[in-house]
């Protein structure tokens, strides 16, 4: 069994996993995704597995050093019949175009507002892994805790950005969208949602 030495202390001792292996599992756990070495090619769960009807309705990021709000977005709650997508995965992917200045930030607060369905949610947790090409930049692990049924909740998490070498930053700027992330959401240690994003840092006017 291969074990990661890892660039993140939180991944030390976690067995290495691959996307192909996890697809064979009936349940995917936080430890499973912590072993992934690279961005997944596809989603590890379907939209239908969001049985708790978790719906993100607002998102905001700010620079913790200055308090500057960098981005804020909101969306109307999903209608009862569910959203119709031309592609079931289209709603699970976003693309950001940052400027190089973003890479200079050290702490970014992300506030997320979400609603949940009519069952209580225990141990709601998100693991978000950021990669540049096949190199893991950092893995973030945030707890949302308990959520009451049919509630709207707000939570802010602090992203401590890793110190990146000039060379890596330069490469990230020169190669837009080769920085990617997987966001895995778990309820009671079972994967229920999987979102993806990619990033450019060469943004200009």
């Amino acid at each position: 069994m291969k074990v990661q030495q890892g660039c993140n202390s939180s991944d030390m001792g976690i067995p290495v996993t691959t996307e192909e292996e996890l697809r064979r599992n009936t349940v995917i756990t936080p430890e499973d995704v912590l072993g992934l070495q690279k961005i997944t090619k596809n989603y590890l769960c379907s939209p239908e597995e969001n049985v708790h009807m978790i719906d993100f309705t607002r998102f905001k990021i700010r620079d913790m050093e200055t308090g500057t709000v960098l981005f804020e977005i909101t969306k109307p709650p999903t209608p009862a019949g569910g959203k119709k997508h031309c592609d079931p995965n289209a709603g699970r992917f976003v693309r950001y175009q940052f400027t190089p200045a973003f890479l200079q930030l050290r702490q970014v607060g992300a506030t997320v507002e979400f609603t949940v369905g009519d069952t209580p949610i225990n141990n709601f947790r998100m693991i978000e892994r950021h990669y540049f090409r096949d190199q893991l930049l950092k893995s973030f692990d945030f707890e949302f805790g308990f959520c009451m049924p049919s509630s709207k909740n707000t939570c802010e998490h602090i992203y401590e950005f890793p110190a990146l070498s000039e060379e890596i930053m330069r490469e990230m700027i020169l190669h837009p969208y080769e920085t990617q992330s997987d966001s895995f959401y778990f309820v009671d240690n079972k994967l229920v949602m999987h979102n993806k994003a990619d990033y450019s840092y060469s943004g200009g006017p």
């Binding site: 175009q97 400027t99 308990f146 993806k196």
Partner: protein
């Protein structure tokens, strides 16, 4: 890690309908800019989301998978000749389209259309008396090339679609229909991985050919 969780009963959230939001949106008034002037907030809507704020010192574009697929579909519909596309497909591994371009980014192009000034994002406004370190100069040339990139709607910039969109579960055939794969002569192996790679770059190369033909 700081957290503040408040669970409240779901209440009605007053959010303007998208149509009303668009009707009320107006392009931001022109303001003289300098490194220390905070950027005008960028607002707009994309794929049902309402962007309330976007600080262009740090973020200049946001889009969703839905928007990317719509734009890819639109561009493929605009493809004039299939033969042009097949030419480009026959040599898939050759020089990829420069990635100095972005696909379908909501850069507020609808709001800021016509505003074509170059803004230096690096000189971050001083905070607490400290000015932040500027980015390496190696990016300057690159960014200048972006600023003077291809013309066209939203700068007409392209980048490969993410693989996760091309492999849409249960909707793969639908999302790929617009590529008219049955009409394209692919001489390479039918290996799935190779095909996926080809498809990723298909739209890009086709667009490059069309650009050349127009000139």
């Amino acid at each position: 890690m700081e957290m503040d969780i408040s669970g409240v009963s779901r209440t009605h959230v007053s959010i303007l309908p998208a149509a009303e939001i668009k009707a009320t949106l107006k392009p931001e008034a022109e303001r003289p800019r300098c490194a220390s002037t905070p950027c005008s907030p960028i607002r707009g809507t994309v794929a049902g989301y309402q962007i309330l704020h976007m600080d262009s010192n740090y973020l200049v574009g946001f889009t969703t998978g839905e928007e990317l697929l719509k734009l890819a579909h639109k561009w493929s519909e605009g493809a004039p000749e299939k033969s042009s596309v097949s030419e480009s497909v026959s040599s898939p591994i050759q020089s990829p389209v420069p990635k100095s371009v972005d696909l379908g980014i909501h850069r507020s192009s609808r709001i800021f259309k016509g505003k074509n000034r170059y803004y230096q994002p690096y000189d971050i406004p001083a905070a607490n008396g400290r000015r932040r370190r500027r980015m390496p100069s190696s990016s300057d040339t690159f960014l200048r090339s972006l600023a003077h990139g291809e013309p066209g709607p939203g700068r007409g910039l392209h980048a490969p679609l993410p693989l996760c969109l091309l492999k849409g579960k249960g909707a793969q055939s639908k999302s790929l229909d617009y590529l008219n794969l049955d009409k394209i002569s692919i001489k390479e192996s039918s290996d799935t991985e190779v095909l996926q790679y080809q498809l990723q770059h298909l739209t890009l190369r086709g667009e490059r050919v069309f650009t050349r033909n127009k000139t």
